[in-house]
Amino acid sequence: MTDTGMLRFHVPEPEVRPGGAPDFSNVPIPRAGSVPRPEIDVDPREIRDLAFSIIRVLNRAGEAVGPWAGLLSDEELLEGLRHMMTLRAFDARMQMAQRQGKTSFYMQHLGEEAVSCAFRKALAPGDMNFPTYRQAGLLIAGGYPMVTMMNQIYSNEADPLKGRQLPIMYSSKEHGFFSISGNLATQYIQAVGWAMASAISGDNRIAVGWIGDGSTAESDFHAALVFASTYKAPVVLNVVNNQWAISTFQGIARGGSGTFAARGLGFGIPALRVDGNDYLAVHAVAKWAIERARRNLGPTLIEHVTYRAGAHSTSDDPSAYRPKAESDAWPLGDPVIRLKNHLIRLGVWSEERHAQAEAEILDTVIAAQKQAEEHGTLHSGNKPSTRDMFEGVYEQMPPHLRRQRQQAGV
């Protein structure tokens, strides 16, 4: 045996822990506008670099620059801002509702609003998302009623899911939003299956998979990439890299690859990284990938580089594992502020109008909340019936469940 000395065990560590000063100076951030926009039918091998860069549109001055800019009208941008502000207000209210005991659990999007809101606007009716629990922007930007979302969160009598699911585990086929599973990554391969089905059926609808940075480590991520690569499925596979998986920093899932987009390289799948806090960049990259899929050019992997500014969920307290100020130090800024500044720069928005919009949106959210609470909250008011608990396990209730329902006296 060659004597090469003792092996040492390597465990990656984040740069800073609570008590330390956050430092993202080693995260390379390319200038906005600097990354080229390849042709839609580019050979994936020619754009391997895009897996290691970051596509950005909005620069520090609030201008939209470079080849990925110019896709959205002022009205569309204003609408986008409103969606993100709505999602943020919605989150704040529901977070509070949970603290008030009106429901058991909540998960917010703070800092990540651009990702799902902007992506949604690049989709066509009939396309299907397979979301995780952190893409409610797909619903908000898709016009799904906030009251219905709240009814689900409250598990009240008007909950479309009859109280059966954890709060925020929405489902709306009509709005292209697949039933959220609490199990990580399972839905990624399902998105590929849905896309395969669309191709098998000669349809032109495409599917969109969503996964978090931490969850890319899960094996179904691999299943999804293998199937997407082999069958050239019309699917966009999104990785939302918000730097954290509960208390675990992204380096544990990512390992030595440098980026999550890099995972696509091993499958011949075009892989792009995008500034996830840049509404315009997310939208432009989404458009590109969606067009590829719809033109039967196959799957695209997109890593959205963002930051989870809030806690993982209402059960989590991030101060135990990361510096409090880390969020402020995050070099890609805040998606709402960045789009606001851009609109102000464009001359179609102002601080006053923003403050006013904020107030209006809050009113709308509060009004929706009031309406939802008329149908009850988790522990008070009307609730889904115990009978509902026995329904829908199968299309037709089998005899043993019927007997159990009788035993339950309902």
Binding site: I189, W194, M196, E395
Partner: protein
């Protein structure tokens, strides 16, 4: 009416279903061009094209997961897992996703998929080609679990499974593919062409899920069995001369409890048999249901005959397999108890 092997009957079920309904598609490892290692899908790709019958990468989670996505889209995938012993990588998708989708979305999305897989031993397949994991699925609400024991049922049950609006786990006792095997492994097996239940109607028909069949009427003791064990039980009854009523459950979930209760109430005795390991096998559920529902009719303890609680061994296959001698002994003991 043609005589068919169980393989042919299963293939026929998929053929008929694909012919009637464009949404039915078939895929799995080696099922496309080659037609499956047991040839259950032979000819389907040639007939229906590569979009409706194709080879899958070796990833059982991917196969089931993709099928779930397809079902959510509106197709009706019928997928093959090459051996039941290899279903575990796909277990999460089956348990956490397929089985829960209708419930958790309140019917917004549903999951009409069939997951077919050869199960059971008796072919010297060792621990990874012999397992009978049905009890791991009967514990999962939202699934249906089917185990046919003959070509006629296999076709009708598989068509019913494909048409069912909910996910169905479909076990194919591989030792029965070519003939009704009664556990006498040294004797030649009668081929299906010589067996009444090898007669398989042409075209479309279904055998309803959730209905058992009485294979042998009798008054001494009720035997609850499914798959290969139906024939082992028949042999045991014949050899012991005990007038057993043999119920072929066919569907384990939902279960035909009425048929079971009617029979045990009549016989007052019950023997439960399966190939799977005994502890926490489906026999435990059966025995428990019988004692819950027929307690005052029971004249003897309900006996179980099952695979021993060891992995399935290679060389000791016939020591492991619950053959007619062991079942016969249980019948005698139950009668004498």
């Amino acid at each position: 009416m043609a005589r068919k092997t169980m393989i042919e009957a299963i293939r026929d079920a998929m053929d008929v279903s694909m012919g009637r309904d464009e949404r039915v598609i078939v895929f799995g490892e080696d099922v496309g061009f080659f037609g499956g290692v047991f040839r259950c899908t032979a000819g389907l790709q040639a007939k229906y094209g590569k979009s409706r019958c194709f080879d899958a990468p070796i990833n059982e989670s991917g196969i089931v997961g993709a099928a779930i996505g397809m079902a959510a889209y509106g197709l009706r995938p019928c997928v093959e897992v090459q051996f039941a012993d290899y279903v575990y990588p796909g277990y999460d998708q089956i348990v956490s996703e397929a089985a829960r989708l209708r419930y958790r979305s309140n019917g917004d999305f549903t999951c009409p998929i069939v997951v077919r897989m050869p199960s059971g031993g008796g072919i010297f397949g060792g621990q990874t080609h012999s397992q009978s994991p049905e009890a791991l699925f009967t514990h999962v609400s939202g699934l249906k679990v089917v185990v046919p024991s003959n070509p006629r049922d296999a076709k009708g049950l598989l068509i019913a499974a494909i048409e069912d609006p909910d996910p169905v786990i479909f076990f194919e006792p591989k030792r029965l593919y070519n003939g009704p095997f009664d556990g006498h492994h040294k004797r030649p097996v009668t081929p299906w062409s010589k067996h009444e239940l090898g007669e398989v109607p042409d075209g479309h028909y279904t055998v309803p899920l959730g209905k058992a069949a009485i294979r042998r009427e009798g008054s001494d003791v009720t035997v609850l069995a499914y798959g290969t064990m139906v024939y082992v039980a028949e042999a045991a009854a014949a050899e012991t001369g005990i007038d057993a009523e043999i119920i072929d459950l066919r569907t384990l979930l939902p279960l035909d409890l009425d048929a079971i209760v009617a029979s045990v109430s009549k016989t007052g005795r019950c023997v439960v048999v399966h190939e799977a390991t005994q502890t926490s096998g489906f026999g435990a559920e059966l025995a428990t249901l019988v004692q819950e529902n027929c307690f005052y009719h029971l004249e003897a303890p309900i006996a179980r005959v099952a695979g021993w609680d060891t992995p399935y061994p290679h060389a000791q296959e016939w020591d492991y397999f619950p053959g007619p001698a062991r079942v016969g002994r249980a019948l005698v003991e139950t009668m004498e108890a």
